[in-house]
Amino acid sequence: MSNRTDNFTRADSSVTMNPPSDGGANWAAPTGGTWGIATNQGRAVSSTSQSVIALEASLSNVDVQCTFATVGSDGGLCARLADDANYLVLKVSGTALTLFKKVANSFTQIGDAGAITISNNDVIKLRCDSANLLNAFQNGVSKFSVTDAAGSTNTQHGLRDNADTNGRFTVFSITDLGAAGDTSTPILNFMF
């Protein structure tokens, strides 16, 4: 398995977000929250604390990206997920882009974009490369990066919502960074 995508274009459901549009393995919600579809958009149905839902990609060095059609109060992406106790969280709200690692059920804040405005339909991406550089992007622009090896071999990636059912997600993707998977090496600039 490699790249995964879901455009959420399917019949409304208040009980499941499956099946993903790429025809691959189903979304799985280890926290136990309920996720669904509304008007061809993914959403959290239940107001569950720290709810995550993820796709298996069999890859750990990836770009995890989603269009936030409606930015909720405490949504975001999850990456490098092994189970409900171990994963990365990129929290997304109208005024925050903050990265956490969850290890053995404990959350640690490891990065933050500072003052920021995130608007509906913004595209948010978390790049996790083989050097464990974790880089957060808004609409293709890097907002911050940190290095942390938490969950570096975990291969599930997806969405998260924290007691928030207002967020709406459209195009979600997991993209393989390639065999090397290290994006931390600067591109040389030649000056003549």
Binding site: A85, K91, V103, F107, T108, Q109, F144
Partner: protein, 133 residues
């Protein structure tokens, strides 16, 4: 402006709203914090190495639990730093278990920061740490 600090780690870790975090995160500055964890998810140390940016560091500077690195840039020689500031950070870091063997007046602030990276087990180069302006 960017500056380096050693900040206490606060929080319970039970949720994202009270995550383990560098205290300086809460003081209105942008932070890139190095917080290694134990197998049980708790922070390995009760302090964090932080690269910060802000237009105004007055709140952080007023907090006596947060230790600033002296110097203007990481390339500043320790000999260029007033002795009082130099001795203060030296004593502080030794108290945190940082090995400063071989650090001399001809060493740079960056040399000292790398020793802190070594202490917390970070394998990457501190110069690759970035923080939003």
């Amino acid at each position: 402006m960017k500056r380096w600090f050693i900040s206490p780690v606060i929080g319970s870790g039970i949720s994202t709203s009270d995550a383990f975090r560098a205290k300086i995160f809460d003081l209105g500055v942008n932070v890139h914090a190095k917080i290694p964890h134990n197998p049980d998810g708790t922070p390995r140390f009760n302090w964090a190495l932080c690269l910060c940016s802000a237009a105004d560091f007055s709140v952080a500077d007023a907090d006596t639990t947060i230790e600033p690195f002296p110097g203007v840039t990481v390339d500043d020689l320790l000999s260029s730093i007033p002795a009082a500031s130099r001795n203060r950070i030296q004593n502080f870091l030794i108290g945190k278990g940082v090995d400063l063997t071989g650090i001399t007046l001809q060493s740079t602030v960056g040399d000292v920061i790398q020793r802190v990276m070594n202490r917390i087990g970070a394998t990457d180069d501190f110069r690759k740490m970035t923080v939003p302006e």
